[in-house]
Assembly symmetry: C2
Homo-oligomer: 232 residues x 2
DNA sequence: TCCTGTGAAATCATTCACAGCC
DNA sequence: GGCTGTGAATGATTTCACAGGA
């Protein structure tokens, strides 16, 4: 079927956030929501939200707002969430265990269908109803189960080899939790999550804030109220 | 001491990646590295790397490259990693357990000094040498231990209340794993990691790729080589 | 010659502000 | 009157391309 116009990458990254907000609002009983209201629920400003949604087409009603159900369907369609993609998870250390048990996957359009590890001691273990298989089966199983997305939660030194196997098995999307850069062909998408990097970015801002407290009324330890504003 | 020039946010977000690459290169025995080489190790292009580093000052040598040790020190200084910040972790479900055991924190300038949970059954449990405390102690302990960064790994419904307590205790940086938007005062930085969102972004690209396979030589299931190129 | 540091150009993203529709 | 959709303006980021130091 027809492809998509070239949605800006920044817009794509925000659509899942809008979707989550819409689900919340829907459960709260709202049929319709203004750009202002949805923007607040998603933590962005309303102009940005309207611009983002306008890229998908015209699904709002002037003077009224957006139909919650319709907009959910639209965004899910664009993100391709109507087709419950098969995901495999490689590496069942602490993090892998947590990911295997994370219910946010199942509830948002994904299904973990296979687990792999290189450690013989882990192979055979049962986690969330799935048996851990040896990594040598990865190539075969990935093809059999039609796996679309591979999640890598191995140590950094193993990650590239795992990525190579995934790519050879035809997987074209990888979510990488290992702290390293992966080399893959251009048709494969890699996204990376590095927990320590997030902390380091926060550390920078702490450092900067600390180097400013010398100046004006140094806020002691306690901020009262509860305003808005969220760090980028 | 003196603050920083206004480093672009995009640059800040890449510095930790350069740092990791530099540590790898250093362990590999390199004393000096060109922008081209470091860029490859960090997965960016060399022009961007040079521009980023030029914001920190002039730490390279024309015709030669960057001194690995010096550059590591510089970046660590800018990120404020020389002062081993105290971190607390709230919420010890699956993900919390994994985070408590994540050695990437200790090895990159952070120290988890306290764990909290609201569940009486978890309070008292010992994890990685720390005892889980009841969340009611959070405010007091955060002040006592001079906690700089709070990590929230609770369910979404609890996250805002936890954030409020952290803020009241003077914590000005929060890393939020709960899938919700937090409201905090403007002086508090929040960064968010949402695992399901990352998958949804990959899903979009899968969807788009699928809607294109109809056209040219539809690649069957298997890509051979191992070129470069990493998805954004 | 090799490689950094950097203005200038090009691209991408956000915000403004208002016309047009309900 | 309220609210979306969108050009136009602004701002941020990336990329180019090359001057200039080692």
């Amino acid at each position: 079927m027809s492809a998509f116009p070239d949605l800006p990458e920044a817009t794509i990254a925000r659509l899942p956030e809008y979707l989550r907000a819409l689900h919340n609002l829907g459960e709260g009983g709202a049929d319709t929501i203004s750009s202002e209201g949805l923007a607040a629920a998603a933590g962005v400003n309303s102009a940005k939200l309207r611009k983002d949604l306008s890229h998908l087409g015209s699904y709002g009603t002037r003077g009224v707002g957006y139909d919650v159900t319709l907009l959910i369907e639209q965004i899910e369609y664009v993100l391709g969430l109507d087709q419950r993609r098969a995901v495999c998870l490689v590496g069942l250390g602490n993090l892998g265990h947590a990911l295997a048990g994370y219910d946010g996957f199942a509830s948002r359009g994904f299904k973990i269908v296979a687990l792999f590890d290189a450690d013989e001691a882990k192979v055979g273990e049962q986690i969330q109803g799935l048996v851990v298989r040896h990594i040598e089966e990865l190539g075969r199983v990935a093809v059999e189960e039609n796996i679309a997305i591979g999640v890598i939660a191995t140590p950094a030194r193993a990650a590239q080899a795992v990525a190579d196997v995934l790519v050879d098995a035809g997987v074209t999307s990888i979510l990488n939790f290992a702290p390293c850069v992966l080399s893959v062909p251009a048709n494969v998408d890699v996204r990376k999550v590095d927990l320590a990097i997030e902390l380091q970015i926060l550390s920078f801002h702490e450092h900067r804030k600390a180097s400013l407290t010398a100046l004006p009324g140094g806020r002691s330890a306690a901020a009262a109220g509860n305003q808005e504003a969220v760090g980028s």
